[in-house]
């Protein structure tokens, strides 16, 4: 579920749904909480987070297959 909406902070403006080019929020209605209808189509570009006027109302959860691979600080053996 890449974009995660915090219902306590969301002001239901649906700007996120308006701008998402992949239309992950398809079917969302202004005045209601945005619905993440097609989470697998998220491209993780942060557009929804950038346009959101309510701080902390939306964030991206980066899915497990997309986690970065980085060199461990300590040898795992």
């Amino acid at each position: 579920m890449p974009p995660v909406v915090n219902k306590e902070k969301c002001i239901k403006c649906n700007k996120c749904a308006e701008i998402c080019s992949e239309d992950v929020f398809y079917g969302s209605q202004k005045g209601e909480f945005p619905t993440v209808t097609y989470p697998r189509e998220c491209v993780h570009f942060n557009g929804c987070v950038s346009v959101c006027p309510a701080p902390g109302a939306i964030s991206l959860r980066i899915p497990l297959p997309i986690q970065l691979v980085f060199k461990p600080e300590v040898d795992p053996l």
Binding site: I19, S21, F45, I66, L68, V69, K71, E73
Partner: protein
């Protein structure tokens, strides 16, 4: 299904950098312009979250030797692209004017009041790319297009171009949020629809939208151009990129680090410590390095920024903000991953569909009245902006000189598209777009992938045609969004089939087109490889640039 008809002089399909620049220039010249965009123009195309490199010649910096700049680009950033020098020369003539325009409009093209050259260049060689703050570039371009009177329609996916006889008269498409057919009657059309990104499996095959270019670029422009009879070129020449493993992002030239192995040994010989001016050009000269290292039992490879100075770290973070990295850097912060402590594994990205719509230095395609710019024709931000602008200018000039030809009620393409979408929306059972895309991608990877030979490709072509026919007869969509996705995969199946035909016809090994049955590069084929639909038949041939 509800229908809406819209008349315009110039129709720009795709609202990325090229489409918006075309709209700006055409509207400025006084013609009526409509831009249609499948997503939302504010966050569509490759420039959606910003860019930080713009290739340009600057007279005061480079002096009068124009050929040196062109030769350097052919040697470096443009080295893999099979295009002629005419296009580069035209870009060279115009790009600096575009730089000045963008700067005036509010896209900062200077850094600390100076031209800042960095990245995409070799130590000791001419610098070809300026750094610019492109984070809000789409916002600025939308404002400029609207200011000049261009109309922007979001959530419209054009599927086919319309002709009356041999004349281009517009396009037909759908709304991706409501069941509505849109018919555009236009004098000239510009395609700025981007690459075909989802032809092959992604970096994370189960997660197909993990792509540095976003998910909406599905070769729609080249598919409709082909169906309308325009020439396409080199679809069989795939591309591969390099970038952080599993989190697909382009823009490797923004990183200030050294590509090293597990033991810290540099993979190339360009830099031995992080250098803000050059980055590590091994990423540009050998994008296959991470894959080769792994195959040779020497992997993995890392982009190692751990020796970066505090000043260079701040500099890199500033440019990452402009190059579409905020989602990644915010995630890194949450996870405690730090460029200064952790080398990040770099990976050779999977195959991507290659090729382009043939367009000349005026952005004219082989079909009169049809123009193409951006990744559909000749990519990167500078070229998209330049040829978008040039295409808009020429489309406007062409539109002014002709009368609008009305679309007849009997237009066969409209009837065909209506039937297609009614069928897709009317079915209650059948494969949906995702299932169809998986079938396409596995066939492309297995049969016209990294290594190709005639019998393998013939088998793959037969299978792809089998899948394509089944998809056309049975694909279903529950709503208008899924209808758009279904039309995308039908376009990709078309481009996939053409890729097979062109790969079979290129009887040589060249770049990433590897054919053990023709292991040598044939110098007589240093030409444009063309495919065209002539009266329903595929005609393949070669043309000099």
């Amino acid at each position: 299904m509800q229908e809406e008809r819209i008349q315009t002089d110039v129709l720009c399909i795709g609202g990325g950098i090229a489409g918006l620049m075309a709209a700006i220039r055409a509207a400025e010249l006084g013609v009526k312009v409509v831009v249609v965009e499948k997503g939302n123009v504010l966050y569509s195309g490759c420039g959606r979250m910003g860019n930080d490199h713009f290739e340009t010649y600057i007279p005061k910096v480079h002096g009068k030797d124009k050929d040196a700049w062109i030769e350097e680009l052919l040697r470096t950033a443009k080295g893999e692209i099979l295009i002629g020098k005419n296009l580069l020369r035209a870009q060279f003539q115009k790009a600096y004017d575009i730089v000045k325009l963008w700067h005036k409009w509010g896209i900062p093209m200077k850094y600390k009041r100076k031209w800042e050259f960095a990245g995409h260049s070799f130590p000791g060689r001419p610098m070809t790319h300026i750094k610019y703050e492109g984070r809000f570039q789409k916002k600025v371009l939308i404002r400029q297009a609207k200011k000049r009177g261009a109309t922007i329609l979001n959530r419209v996916m054009v599927y086919d171009l319309l002709k009356e006889g041999k004349k281009l008269v517009g396009a037909v498409g759908i709304h991706t949020r409501e069941d509505k057919l849109l018919i555009f009657n236009a004098k000239a059309v510009l395609l700025g629809t981007g690459k075909c990104s989802r032809l092959y499996p992604s970096l994370t095959p189960g997660w197909m939208f993990n792509d540095g270019h976003g998910g909406t670029q599905t070769g729609d422009g080249r598919a409709m151009a082909y169906r309308a009879g325009a020439e396409l070129q080199n679809l069989e020449m795939p591309q591969r990129h390099i970038g952080p493993k599993y989190f697909a992002r382009f823009g490797q030239a923004t990183w200030i680090g050294v590509v090293r192995d597990w033991d810290g040994k540099p993979a190339g010989n360009f830099v031995t410590k992080p250098d803000r001016r050059y980055g590590d050009m091994i990423c540009e000269v050998n994008k296959l390095a991470p894959e080769t290292y792994t195959q040779q039992g020497k992997g993995p490879l890392y982009m190692d920024c751990t020796e970066i100075t505090p000043e260079d770290h701040d500099y890199m973070m500033h440019w990452m903000k402009n190059e579409g990295y905020p989602a990644m850097t915010q995630y890194m912060e949450q996870e405690g991953i730090d460029f200064r402590k952790h080398p990040i594994e770099f990976s050779t990205y999977p195959l991507r569909g290659g090729g382009l719509i043939v367009a000349n230095e005026n952005a004219e395609t082989s079909l009169q009245g049809l123009y193409a710019a951006g990744d559909e024709a000749f990519g990167d931000i500078s070229a998209a902006a330049t040829f978008g602008y040039v295409g808009g200018e020429n489309a406007a000039g062409y539109a002014e000189g002709i009368k609008l030809t009305q679309i007849k009620k009997s237009n066969l393409t409209i009837k065909k598209v209506k039937r297609l979408i009614d069928d897709i929306r009317g079915r209650e059972n059948g494969p949906e777009w995702e299932e169809t895309t998986i079938a396409l991608q596995q066939t492309m990877l297995d049969y016209v992938g990294k290594v190709r030979n005639e019998s393998l490709m013939k088998q793959g072509l037969a299978h792809l045609r089998f899948i394509r026919k089944k998809a056309e007869e049975t694909i279903m969509a529950k709503n208008s969004h899924e209808l758009g996705r279904s039309l995308e995969v039908l376009n990709m199946l078309e481009i996939g089939e053409l890729t097979f035909l062109m790969a079979l016809n290129r009887k040589e090994t060249r770049g990433l087109h590897v054919r053990p049955d023709y292991p040598y590069t044939n110098p007589t084929l240093n030409q444009a490889h063309i495919i065209q639909n002539v009266k329903g038949k595929n005609v393949l041939g070669w043309k000099t640039y």
